[in-house]
Symmetry: C2
Subunit: 338 residues, 2 copies
């Protein structure tokens, strides 16, 4: 029996492996210390030694079963030469055509090499049983940021898709190629799992979801599999409808599907659990609340997923004001589950 994180993909269902989206982040004092020293979030992502150290912090502190490389979904647009500005968070100069986006320029390797370098450093320092997760934003989510909106403001991308579906398809097709290439790069550098974040999937109409999320993801999965047959691929179509989740699990070829907070976990086990490994679903606000509320929420998920291939995780990234003690409570609850 494979007791590492990867065992879950091979049918292991006793104690679920555990990690948290955005686990290397602002809720950790040791992260805030580095951030205060370096100043810029983007510099932290682009400096392999720093990104590697931040990646390892939560694994050291909590003994999580996986590390996820400290990086950002906007590295792909940046690598394509889209201008980035920095206010609170990095922001992209909006584009209205895919014509000038090009992977053959210097920008591409220059921007992505630090991510691969960070992964190599982490891999060398990580215990063998701990997995290393690489990631990318999905094409649709990247498109929402590249058109002047974002995951919570998909209006500009949606309008472009309505007004100029052929032009928009060019953008999505290009981004799907880029995402596949970047995931393959991360796997070659030493990641053993990759996750595709479609954080902007919620609110799409059923036909737009099929066209701009499910179909490009299937294409990405095919390319990644061809290049790295051993790799495990997790998809996160956050906020889509239950039907969207079902079609995504059935049609994209991902190994695992990450569930947002709203998905009824019983439904997911029953409908998706035979097709894919499941992940996530815990409300990050239950983790902020801690105490009884957290214990009940964790217990409900553990109960529902018993006997299912399941990765314990949040339904969305951990919130900056989460107390460390509540994360410790979570680790204890999950690890002592039977």
């Amino acid at each position: 029996m494979d007791c590492s994180f990867l065992g879950v993909f091979n049918g292991r269902t006793d104690v679920p492996p555990l990690w948290m989206m955005r686990q290397a982040g602002r809720y950790l004092p040791e992260y805030r210390e580095i951030r205060a020293k370096i100043g810029s979030f983007w510099s932290m992502c682009m400096t392999p030694e720093v990104a590697a150290e931040i990646t390892l912090q939560p694994v050291r502190r909590f003994g999580f079963d996986a590390a996820i490389v400290f990086s950002d979904i906007l590295v792909i647009p940046a690598a394509l030469g889209v201008a980035l500005s920095f206010d609170q968070a990095p922001k992209l100069k909006p584009i209205s055509s895919a014509d000038n986006l090009d992977r053959s320029k210097d920008c591409w390797p220059k921007t992505l090499a630090p991510v691969y370098e960070a992964i190599k450093l982490v891999r060398a320092r990580l215990e063998p049983g701990t997995s290393l997760i690489g990631f990318a934003g999905g094409p649709w989510t990247l498109a929402t940021y590249m058109t002047g909106g974002g995951a919570n403001e998909p209006g500009p991308a949606t309008l472009w898709a309505y007004r100029d579906p052929d032009g928009f398809r060019k953008l999505i097709d290009l981004l799907a190629d880029c995402v596949a290439e970047h995931l393959i790069g991360q796997l070659r550098a030493g990641a053993d799992i990759v996750q595709i974040f479609e954080s902007a999937a919620g609110g799409l109409t059923a036909s737009a979801f099929a066209r701009w999320v499910t179909a490009p993801t299937a294409k990405i999965v095919t390319k990644v599999r061809a290049a790295a047959p051993q790799a495990k691929i997790i998809g996160f179509p956050r906020g889509t409808t239950l039907q969207g989740y079902e079609l995504y699990a059935r049609n994209t070829g991902v190994d695992a599907v990450s569930l947002d907070t709203a998905v009824p976990i019983d439904w997911a086990v029953e409908t998706l659990g035979m097709k894919v490994v499941l992940q996530g679903n815990l409300d990050p606000l239950a983790l902020v609340a801690g105490g009884t509320a957290l214990a009940e929420a964790v217990e409900a998920i553990l109960q529902a997923t018993r006997g299912t291939r399941f990765i314990f995780n949040l339904g969305h990234g951990i919130l900056p004001d989460t107390p460390i003690a509540h994360v410790e409570q979570l680790v204890h609850l999950v690890r002592s589950a039977k």
Copy 2:
């Protein structure tokens, strides 16, 4: 055969009645003219003659099958004495207990009387075949605004519910009573339909949705039915999961369910169509786009809902930058449907 809007509740399925959420609003030049004159959105709501005029504007221009009173979901917190400030939009002073909220103070009738007065004025000026819709925010959605967040920022309300479920339940119970009373007041003033907007329902966990949306809505519906047996009640649990929609349609007792943009319309017709009248679903961004995209989106909904009791509407409020010509195109497409 009852050819008015209300006919759809009695089984009429030929041409769907048509109105739009936020149809009295900023996309209309005649609205912007009044707004420029009066200045404050809240004064417009609180001045019956003005609110009545604004309510009638879109019905006059487009011949919609229903008017919806020009008002705001925040009238209930304001009527409970919660302090309102005005920046771009009205904002509430956050509360952390339901203890000081009281319907017996002067504030209650003083704040709500103008809404009823506006409804009386509209009713007197509206053609008999045109329906008049009153509305209220649902208890959960009101709670998100009253705790310092809002429909797109439900964090503070969610945290309160985790940390102090009994205290939070007091707030929800009180708000359910308030919503029922305000809906009944609007029906007595001359509305024939009421809609409950749970704009913050998306993202709730399945158990929180059952507790803070479905159960209070059922209580509201029971009270409204007892006081106004003829009234038709539309519920809009925006953004909940498909399972959430199903349980809401089955367990609340509403006559109709309004569908957000993401709900697959075929699924809704098949799963909910026998239990309740359906409404909505058209993407407001398709209306901004117009042209072929709008024609295709409208046609897809008309096709899927043929033979179903259906009210044509958007999946969310109309956007301020929607061209008038596209609304005219929509009216033509729906009215010429066979």
